[in-house]
């Protein structure tokens, strides 16, 4: 196939390797070596991760966390344009600027819908194992070419811009993958089983409404504790969602998972642990009350949570 996940991982690895090399070559970088090491290791995970023993990767992951924790990962220097230059360029391209930006989702959605029918020389164009992600990869490549053509820039400039954006997010780029890793470790270690044990032994899970409420509220509570729905999801879905709601009450797994994830997001709206969504903006907007954003959000979050319980209950009714 032409766009397989393995190819796209190499592509991500190449982008990250450029970030690492440009960081290493950036003499004015405040944390040149720590940052280069961080991005260099992350690039290796994508380029040759399948060839390395997983224990080595584990050591590298811990090293990355330590580098981030010791503030050894920082943004480098980037040539920024002035506001006037931006305005002039914006006027030159106008609404055409939206084209490549919109091309990514449009091509991704069309590609994933038509994946089964797209073949070139007898080979499937998109990875049949994960056509959606493969379509996003293909869309990104097409959109980059489109953007280069439109702006008359080179892909090398694209790499420089990618580094600027990666630097702006810094180690937070890795956080979703870190939290998902924690979810898998939790599930290997039986945290879900522990939660399921406590839930089924102390709560009457054979009552449908109670089971629905435990899953929905549990997702929200775990997200409040962990600050991220991605870390809560494997625990609650492995502990209650799959064994009880799908296994006992035969609920549609896609519906259970989607409602569960949204219940987690309700938790995200109510927790100071989700700092970048709730605490950072309060600082950014110069609000004296650091919890002002949470105060503005909780009524919406709680109402949606109640709706989720009702929806899930309706879905598992006999």
């Amino acid at each position: 196939m032409i766009f397989s996940l393995a190819h796209l991982y190499v592509l991500v690895g190449v982008v990250l390797a450029f970030v690492a090399l440009m960081t290493a070559a950036d003499r004015q970088h405040p944390q040149r070596f720590g940052s280069a090491l961080f991005w260099g290791f992350y690039a290796l995970v994508f380029l040759v991760g399948d060839l390395l023993p997983s224990a080595w990767i584990g050591v590298g992951v811990i090293a990355m966390a330590v580098l981030a924790g010791l503030r050894r990962v920082a943004p480098g220097t980037h040539g920024q344009s002035s506001a006037a230059e931006y305005a002039v360029r914006a006027r030159r391209l106008g609404n055409r600027l939206f084209l490549p930006a919109l091309a990514i989702p449009v091509i991704a959605v069309i590609g994933s819908l038509l994946a089964r029918h797209l073949h070139i020389a007898g080979m499937p164009l998109l990875d049949p194992g994960n056509p959606t992600l493969a379509a996003v990869g293909m869309a990104s490549v097409v959109a980059l070419l489109l953007a280069c053509w439109l702006t008359r820039e080179t892909p090398a400039q694209g790499m420089r811009e990618a580094r600027r954006l990666v630097d702006a997010m810094s180690w937070a780029v890795v956080l979703p993958q870190m939290l998902a890793m924690l979810g898998l470790v939790f599930s290997d270690a039986g945290v879900g089983k522990g939660v399921a044990y406590l839930a089924t032994h102390y709560i009457a899970m054979d009552v449908r409404l109670v089971a629905a409420a435990v899953y929905v509220v549990g997702m929200a509570l775990f997200t409040i504790v962990m600050g991220n729905g991605f870390a809560a999801f494997p625990v609650m879905t492995g502990g209650v969602g799959v064994p009880v709601l799908v296994g006992v009450f035969h609920a549609n797994p896609a519906a259970v998972a989607a409602i569960g994830m949204f219940s987690g997001y309700c938790g995200t709206l109510m927790t100071p642990m989700a700092a970048n969504f709730n605490i950072v903006p309060a600082a950014l907007l110069e609000l004296p009350d650091k919890n002002a954003v949470i105060r503005a959000q909780w009524p919406t979050a709680l109402t949606v949570l109640v709706f989720n319980i009702v929806l899930l209950y309706i879905l598992i009714r006999p």
Partner: protein, 254 residues
């Protein structure tokens, strides 16, 4: 020393790995770096489950490798978005959004909520954000709209409007992105269910996100309509109190 309890599902269930959850809570209360907290919780949990050093490292490494797909859709579009930003995408979007200037604060936020939720639903999660959109654009526009209608705002109301602008950005993003098939959430859901032996089509997961996403929009939009009403009432009272106070000052001055 091992803590085992009888269970009907499995012969024995160890509750020790739940210590990992406590590590996360303690880490955040002590304000450690999230990367350190996550890795620390992973190590503690694996050890509590009786994994050896090598097995712990392998579990962390294998878990990290298996979830690379989450980062794919985050990194690959960056070169394109960066190039477009270099050519004024953000400035052009700001000019474009200024067309909605004549609305009330609540109407402005409802329009933003709709745009944010729909654009996140087609994967354009980067078309908003607190640093790029809320602070430079949305919050000033909302405050401006309220001032044009009600006169100078007291700080208390100004802060509430700003917080609502940030909240609206979050709500639009969260309940939009889960409908986009290629975004992290749906990918995480399908890969987790696959590991659990259940294969679902990402489009089905996205489809089942739609009812909650719709209700979230309706609830928040209704609260924004009410925001307009309370704003009008409070500013009426405020103006009443303000004139009395103003008259008082003039008396003293005279």
């Amino acid at each position: 020393m091992r803590l085992f309890l009888e269970s009907s599902m499995a012969p024995t269930v160890s509750l020790w790995p739940l210590i990992g959850v406590a590590v996360i809570v303690a880490g955040f209360i002590l304000r450690f770096n999230p990367m350190i907290i996550v890795v620390g919780a992973a190590i503690v949990t694996a050890c509590a489950a009786g994994f050896g050093v090598l097995a712990t490292l392998s579990a962390i490494g294998a878990g990290f490798l298996k979830t690379r797909n989450l980062t794919l859709a985050l990194i690959l579009p960056l070169a394109t978005i960066g190039l477009l930003e270099r050519h004024g995408l953000r400035q052009h979007t700001q000019d474009w959004i200024r067309r909605f200037r004549n609305a009330t604060a609540g109407q402005l936020l409802i329009a933003y909520l709709a745009v944010r939720e729909l654009s996140a639903a087609v994967g354009l999660t980067s078309l908003g954000g607190h640093a790029t959109m809320v602070r430079p654009l949305l919050a000033p526009m909302v405050e401006g709209a309220a001032e044009a209608r009600h006169g100078r705002l007291p700080d208390r109301i100004r802060y509430r409007l700003r917080a609502m602008a940030a909240a609206t950005d979050n709500i639009g993003l969260f309940f939009g992105e889960d409908i986009f098939v290629a975004f992290g959430a749906v990918v995480l859901i399908t890969s987790f269910l696959h590991e659990a032996g259940i294969d679902v089509d990402p489009l089905r997961v996205a489809f089942w996100g739609i009812p909650t996403a719709g209700v979230a929009f309706a609830v928040h939009a209704w609260r924004l309509v009410r925001l307009d009403r309370t704003l009008a009432r409070e500013m009426r009272d405020e103006v009443g109190a303000g004139t009395t106070a103003g008259a008082g000052t003039e008396d003293t001055a005279a």
